[in-house]
C-alpha cells in the first residue's frame, strides 16, 4: 500500500527508473492512445470519399479505386483484377455491370467486350487522400469571414470574461464585507442554470436589447459564466493574505493590488479559464444558432452544421470542416499550456 502511494505522490524522480515510473509511463501511453486515437481517426476520415466512409469493415487509411484511361471511352473505367476463370490475374476496366454479370475490356484490346460473373472481379485500390473535401470548402463559401467572426467572438468574449470574473473572484476571496455569502450563493446558484434550459427567455432578452443578429449578442451573454468566478475564487483563496497586507502598507491602490499581485499569482488558474473560455466560445453552437441568422455573421460552427440537411448530411465536407475548426483551437492550446506550466512554477516556489 505504502509503495503504491509513494508512486502516486512522489514529486521528484530518482536517478534510475523505479518500477513505479514504468507503471506511470504505461498509464500515460495508454492514455495517449485512448485520448488521441479517436482524434487521429477523425482526421483520417476527413480525407475519405463518401463511399469509403460508409464502408464496413472500416479501413484505417483512405482508399480509392483506381481507374483506367482506355482508348475509345470518354470517361475513365474502374479498374479490377480478375480472380477466376480464363482471365485470372489480368487487369481489366469495367464498362457495365448488371445483375451479377459484368462487362469488361482489356486495356490492350478496347474493342472486345467480355462478359464475366461480377464476383470474379476484385477492385484495385490505392491509398488516396480526398483533398477535395477541403478544397471544395473554400470554393463553396467565405471561409475567412466565418473564421473572422469566430475569432472575434472568441477573443472578445474571453477577454471580457477573464476581466470581469477575476475582478469578482478577487473580492469574493480576499474581502470581508456584508453580503459576501449572498453573492457567493448567487454565483453558485447561477451555476445551476445551463444555457440550454433558458434558451427562449434568454433569446427574448437579447432580442429586446437589440443584439439579435449581432456578434455582441453571442459575446456578452457568454461572459456571464459562473464557472470562472468559482474557479478563480477557489484558487485566489490559497494566495496568502500577508502579501496583500504588505502591498497595502506600501500604499498600493486596491486596483493595483488586483492586477499587479493577484492576477499574476493566479496565472495558472487564469490560463485554465482562458483555455476553457476560448473553447466554449469557439465550439458554441446552440446559442449562436438562434441569435445569428445572417451568413455574414455566421461562425465556423454554424457553417459546419449547415452541411446537415433534413434527410442528408454531407459527411465529407462536414468532417473536413470539423478538422479545420479544430486546428486553431489546438494551436491556441499548445501556446497557452506553456503559460500554465510557467505560472505553476512561479507560484510553486512561494
Amino acid at each position: 500500500m505504502s509503495r503504491l502511494w509513494s508512486f502516486l505522490t512522489a514529486t521528484r524522480g530518482r536517478d534510475r527508473l523505479h518500477w513505479t515510473d514504468w507503471v506511470s509511463y504505461g498509464y500515460l501511453i495508454f492514455g495517449v492512445l485512448l485520448m488521441f486515437g479517436p482524434v487521429v481517426w477523425l482526421v483520417l476520415s476527413s480525407f475519405k470519399s463518401p463511399n469509403e466512409l460508409d464502408r464496413f469493415p472500416p479501413r484505417f487509411l483512405p482508399y480509392a479505386q483506381e481507374t483506367l484511361e482506355i482508348e475509345g471511352f470518354d470517361s475513365p473505367l474502374l479498374a479490377f483484377i480478375v480472380t477466376e476463370g480464363e482471365l485470372t490475374g489480368e487487369v481489366v476496366g469495367q464498362t457495365r455491370r448488371a445483375a451479377g454479370r459484368a462487362e469488361v475490356v482489356l486495356p490492350a484490346d478496347p474493342e472486345t467486350r467480355i462478359r464475366i460473373p461480377a464476383d470474379t472481379l476484385a477492385p484495385i485500390e490505392d491509398v488516396a487522400f480526398a483533398t477535395e473535401n477541403y478544397t471544395s470548402l473554400f470554393e463553396r463559401f467565405n471561409f475567412l469571414q466565418f473564421f473572422w467572426n469566430s475569432t472575434f467572438i472568441t477573443v472578445m468574449a474571453t477577454a471580457l470574461m477573464l476581466l470581469v470574473n477575476s475582478m469578482a473572484a478577487f473580492v469574493l476571496s480576499k474581502y470581508e464585507f456584508r453580503g459576501r455569502t449572498a453573492v457567493l450563493l448567487l454565483v453558485i446558484g447561477t451555476l445551476m442554470i445551463p444555457q440550454t434550459v433558458v434558451l427562449v427567455p434568454l433569446f427574448l432578452i437579447v432580442t429586446e436589447m437589440g443584439m439579435f443578429n449581432s456578434l455582441w449578442g453571442v459575446i456578452i451573454p457568454g461572459a456571464a459564466t459562473p464557472t470562472g468566478v468559482f474557479l478563480l475564487r477557489q484558487y485566489m483563496i490559497t494566495i496568502p493574505d500577508e502579501i496583500l497586507d504588505a502591498a497595502r502598507m506600501d500604499k498600493a491602490s486596491e486596483w493595483k493590488i488586483f492586477w499587479r499581485i493577484i492576477v499574476p499569482l493566479s496565472a495558472p488558474a487564469i490560463a485554465v479559464l482562458a483555455i476553457l473560455a476560448i473553447m466554449w466560445r469557439w465550439n458554441d453552437f446552440l446559442w449562436p444558432l438562434i441569435v445569428l441568422t445572417r451568413t455574414e455573421n455566421f461562425t465556423l460552427q454554424l457553417a459546419l452544421n449547415s452541411f446537415q440537411g433534413e434527410l442528408q448530411t454531407d459527411w465529407p465536407s462536414l468532417l473536413a470542416m470539423t478538422v479545420l475548426t479544430l486546428l486553431p483551437i489546438a494551436c491556441v492550446f499548445m501556446f497557452l499550456q506553456k503559460y500554465i506550466a510557467t505560472g505553476i512554477a512561479s507560484t510553486g516556489g512561494k
Binding site: 455491370r97 463559401f141 439579435f212 444558432l289 449547415s306 446537415q308 440537411g309 433534413e310
Partner: protein, 419 residues
Amino acid sequence: MKKTILTSTALAAGLAVSAGAASAQEIRFMCYSDGNECAVYDDLLTRFEEQNEGVDVVVDEVPYQAIVENLPVQLAAGTGPDIAKITDTGGLNEYYLDLAPHVDTGYWDEAFGETLNWYRVGDRDGYYGMHSQLTITGPFVNATLFEQAGVEMPGAGATWEDWAAAATKVAEATDADFPMAIDRSGHRVAGPAVSYGAKLVEDGTGTFEGFGPFAEAFVGWNEDGTMARDVWASQGGATYADAAQEFINGEVVFYYSGSWQVGRMDEQVGDFFDWKVVGSPCGPAGPCSGMPGGAGIVGFEQTEHPEIVAKVIDFLAQEDIYAEAAARTRNLPAHLGVAQTGVEFEGATPAAQAALTAFAADLPNVAPEAFAYQGYSGNRAMYGITVERLSQAIVGELSVEEALARMNDDLEAAMSEAQ
C-alpha cells in the same frame, strides 16, 4: 466598466449599419440544403436580381435544425427572415404572408393544385407556399440479392406481409444481415400505418385511432429480426436515423425510405449491386400508400417588403424556373405542369432516372389520409410521439398496448397546449 461603455457604442454603430443596409430592399431568404438546393436557388435568384434593379436577395444557408427549432421562436419574436424554405408547412401558417394580392392565383391553382392546401389552416386559406420539392416514401430493393437467392420479387399489389416473407427468404439465402429496414421517422411509418388502417387525421384533428395493427406488426418485425432493429432501437427521443448506409453496403434487402435517397443510392451504390424502386406495399386495410412530403418556400407577414417577397416566390414558381430547379436539384416536382412535361434530372444515371420515375408513378396511390396528414398542422407533434413511443415498445420499455395508450395521452396533452 469602461469596457461596457465601449461595447454599447460599438453596438449602436453596428445597428446603424444594418439599418442602413435594410433600406436597399434587401430580402433575406433562410434556406437549408439536403444537397445543392440553396446554391441553385441563389444562382436562379441572380436572374431575378438582374430583372429587378435595387433588389438584393440574400440566401442564408443554415443548418436544418435552425429551421425546425429556431425559426418559429424568431418568428414569434418578430425577428424572422423575409422568406424561408420550410418543412412544417401547416405549423407555421400563422406567420405566412398571403401572396394572393401580388400573384396570378389562377396560375398558382393550376400549377400547384392540392399542395397549396398543405400550407392552409382553418380560415387562413390564402396562397402561402410554393412546394419546391415533393417527396414520397417508398421502398428500395436490392435486386441483386433477390437474384442470388433465386427468389421471385413480389409484384404490384403485394402486401407488406408478402414483402416481409420474400425479403426474409432472400436474407436467409444470402449474406444480407437484415430483410427489411425503415427509417426512424414518424413520417416514414405514416404511409404503412395508413395501409394498416390508421386514420391519423379525422375532421381536421389528429388521432392515433387505428394505429394499433401497424404498431403490433412493426414491433413484431423488430422482435423477430425481419426489421433491422438498430435503426429504431439505437436512438432515443425523436431523433432521425436512416438505414441508407446498411442498404448501400448490401446488408438490407428491402429498405423503406423515400425519393430523396435516389441521388445518394445512385452515387454510392454504383456498380456494387442493382437496386430498384417499387411502389409502397399494400396493407390489410386496403391502401398501398406511401407518404408525401417535402419542403416549400414561404414568405412571412412581418417582412417590410411584402410585394417583393411575393415577386421572388412567384419568380421561382414560374414553370421554366421551377423545371430548371427541379432538374438541377434532382427533386420530384410538385408543379403539375412541370410534372406533366417530365423532368430530365441533371447528371442522373438511367437507374436514378428510372427510380425517380417509379416514385412519381406511385404518387396517385397515396391515400387521402396520408395526403391530409402531410398538411395537418399538428403532424410534427404526431411524428415525434410515434417515434418515441414505438421505439420504447421495440426496446421493451413499454408493451405495445402501453405505447399506444401513451401515444394517445401525449397527443391529447399536446393538443390541449396547442389550442
